[in-house]
Symmetry: C2
Subunit: 243 residues, 2 copies
């Protein structure tokens, strides 16, 4: 038995912090307060190089916190990289067990297609976890495009672009409005589908919404090979949701 | 010709401010800055009584601004009350034309089923309009319930509860996950549908998420007649999105 077992510290709390879509001013007061007060920050990062989540909040950091980069291989076939989450759960768990609060930075919102859920699933039974919702890419794209997502009794479908064509076609036919996310290398397929369905004129493209490198382009002006992961297509069958 | 026509003022800017789901700390830094700096605030309000949007931001108001309540009859059959929006567009337009910036407070996010779009549709061609995205009820409910909305290539359907049963059934059958919004007096129908589809065990109910009167209840503990408009049911077919 260690000294700690005999005189246990109250465990720390794990926060999943939605930090918003990219503009550092689109963080909430609550996320900012926690971001600046916890002793330990963690964030997803590529195998090499800088973390986008950390870059977003960089202007707000006091610079005195311990930081843990959760480095994720960016290879599609290995996603989700269970062993990385296992490792991260262990590393963060040590801080929590020692009584230190930990905040995990999450681009956009933690629970809108976010990877924080894989830590949540591993840790929520053992530790107190609080999720702080953030401005999601979904509403950030709509705001920036000047395109309301949906109104009244519209069915809005959130469709990941990697899905196969038959399924995407069926869902696009049935919904009143759609947000096609994770477009990236699937752009060519999506544009063709929208054209075939006669919906291309009702669709709008945006990449890196609210970030310094934000771009809005007509669908037919997009270079399919250059579309980044952080891109979205919004479609409303009435053209404008308010009509 | 008036003096103003001869020496025109630069027109003001209209802001649609997402103020978040209810907790005053879930407002963004950007919305807070604009909220406190514009000379004119407008907000939706019931025909009589207080505006929920104004209540949410009340702790942040300097108290020196002109305020315009956009009072909306709460009668379903008259929605959307076009004449109220026409009136509001005129009233706000006068301030803008006189060079005063105006911020319209929007609960949650302005473009996620929000009524701000009806002002946007009337005013965006005549005036500069900027929409500031906010934390939507969608992600606030998920965070509070500890229930991630969707993962990887899940199709997430946003389904307004007033839709008819056949349509809701079809959309629930096809989607991997769903958020049923605007539940209110449709709760009984929705619960029965989820039970018939064998999805009730995968569904979670919440009302007034992040507000002082927030409630989370098992589906079968909800009193159907007492369900408020600000309520949501989240469903994921895998039980937990991360699994």
């Amino acid at each position: 038995m260690t000294a700690q077992d005999q005189n246990p510290t109250a465990p720390g709390r794990l926060y999943g912090l939605g930090i918003g879509p990219g503009d550092p001013e689109l963080i909430t007061l609550k996320a900012l307060r926690l971001l600046q007060s916890v002793p330990v920050l963690a964030y997803p990062a590529p195998e090499e190089g800088e973390s986008l989540a950390r870059q977003i909040v960089a202007p707000h950091l006091p610079g005195s916190q311990e930081e843990i980069a959760i480095r994720m291989p960016m290879v599609v076939s290995r996603f989700p990289a269970q062993e990385v989450y296992d490792w991260a759960a262990g590393a963060l768990g040590e801080h929590l067990a020692a009584g230190r609060d930990v905040a995990v930075l999450c681009e956009g919102d933690p629970f809108f297609y976010g990877s924080f859920m894989y830590l949540f699933g591993r840790m929520a039974e053992r530790f107190a976890v609080e999720v702080v919702p953030g401005v999601s890419s979904l509403t950030a794209c709509a705001a920036t495009l000047g395109a309301p997502l949906a109104a009244r009794n519209d069915v809005l479908a959130i469709l990941p672009a990697p899905l196969d064509e038959a399924l995407l076609t069926a869902r696009l036919q049935e919904a009143d409005a759609a947000a096609i996310i994770k477009v990236g290398r699937h752009f060519g397929k999506i544009r063709r589908l929208l054209q075939d369905l006669g919906l291309a004129d009702n669709a709008r493209y945006i990449e890196h919404a609210t970030m310094g490198n934000q771009k809005i382009l007509p669908l037919d002006a997009v270079t399919a090979e250059a579309v980044p992961y952080f891109s979205m297509i919004l479609m409303h069958k009435r053209g404008e949701a308010w009509s």
